[in-house]
Symmetry: C2
Subunit: 220 residues, 2 copies
């Protein structure tokens, strides 16, 4: 008989942009293995629970968010969460603006913390690899989808939009070319609001016409 049963976990790479840095949510593990090491939020998938549901549950419990952008990343073998080694982990990546995230300090004091991708601590399991994979996916998604909407507030300036791109791609973009291209894409519309309360010329605020994941022909 071929059938066997595996222990299946999920791990989530939750990205946000804070202070012009791309950050990822990590928790300090309270249990063995890798006790006291930093790791991605995750956990076992329950009986009869769909993997995506499990990921959403983790997102809710660890980051206090629901209703944000999330997609499956990859299924990795044996992350080692189960001491017997017989485990796979289905990974997801999620994007949310910082304001939406309400970190849940759990009873196990796992101290969830956003770390800049440029200053990651040592990570448990193969979570470094997973984050690298997620970053690659995020970068390429920026180029042919509108997912950036999920990292920005409802109303934003053109500069905030450009900074999001620059932060994630880790390179500077030309202001005029960026605006030209983005306007042609027809993804955002200008509102009558302006960004006030700063001491310079106020910037016009924009919003996304649609906040659903959409694939574009080409992009950046």
């Amino acid at each position: 008989m071929l059938r066997s049963y595996q222990s299946v976990t999920t791990d989530i790479v939750i990205f946000t942009i804070e202070q012009e840095e791309l950050k990822v949510l990590l928790i300090k593990r309270a249990k063995e293995p890798f006790k006291n090491k930093w790791a991605l939020p995750g956990g076992f998938i329950l009986e009869n629970e769909e993997p995506e549901k499990a990921a959403l549950r983790v997102l809710k419990n660890k980051a206090g968010v629901s209703n944000i952008y999330m997609e499956q990343l990859y299924t990795f073998p044996g992350s080692g969460r189960d001491p017997r080694g017989n485990v796979i982990t289905i990974t997801y990546f999620a994007l949310a603006p910082t304001e939406k995230i309400k970190i849940q300090k759990s009873k196990e004091t796992q101290t969830p913390t956003f770390y800049s991708l440029k200053k990651l601590p040592q990570l448990a399991f193969d979570h470094k690899k997973i984050i690298t994979y997620a970053l690659k996916r995020l970068r390429s998604k920026l180029e042919y989808t509108n997912v950036v909407y999920s990292l920005l507030p409802q109303f934003f300036t053109f500069n905030q939009l450009q900074e999001a791109y620059e932060t994630i791609l880790d390179r500077e973009l030309d202001k005029r070319n960026f605006r030209k291209k983005f306007i042609l894409l027809n993804l955002i519309r200008s509102t009558k609001k302006v960004h006030k309360g700063i001491r310079q010329r106020p910037a016009q605020l924009y919003q996304f016409i649609s906040c659903r994941p959409t694939e574009l022909k080409k992009f950046f």
Copy 2:
């Protein structure tokens, strides 16, 4: 205690090109559920077996091939292979030239058969969805990688190469532009051999400089 155990399967979309058609390998199920329906080759992942190893095992048993291009596609929930519903399937897609594939008629007489994507029979589980997903991935991979090498024989004519693209993308390409672009990519080299035994002017034979998956800047 959160830990639970899931029944985990793998299903593989094996593509090949035959008679200028893109085809996928299907087997007729010998058991319930979906007995006598067509389905992707697949099976349960064994105790302590890595998912990719399981996929390679299926590839070997059902299509008689090893050492061909294969990559993970997506992990789907509950394909229904386990009657209790508590199952996930890790899917892969593989590419091989027809010559390499030696279909194994198994004792269970599962009659593995290549079906043109344009004439698929009714499929078991959610395998239609998986094939659609695989086709999308294959098409986009054609545009930014060199994977096409895995569908062609070692030596091939420029026309065979172009036909592979046309078959998969399901649209015609301009002969001169195609050659120009492909030559610039520097992926293939011409050999001194020619394609003989046909009644027209013999075509020069080419081979890939490297047969390892490589990502390109841009493509088609």
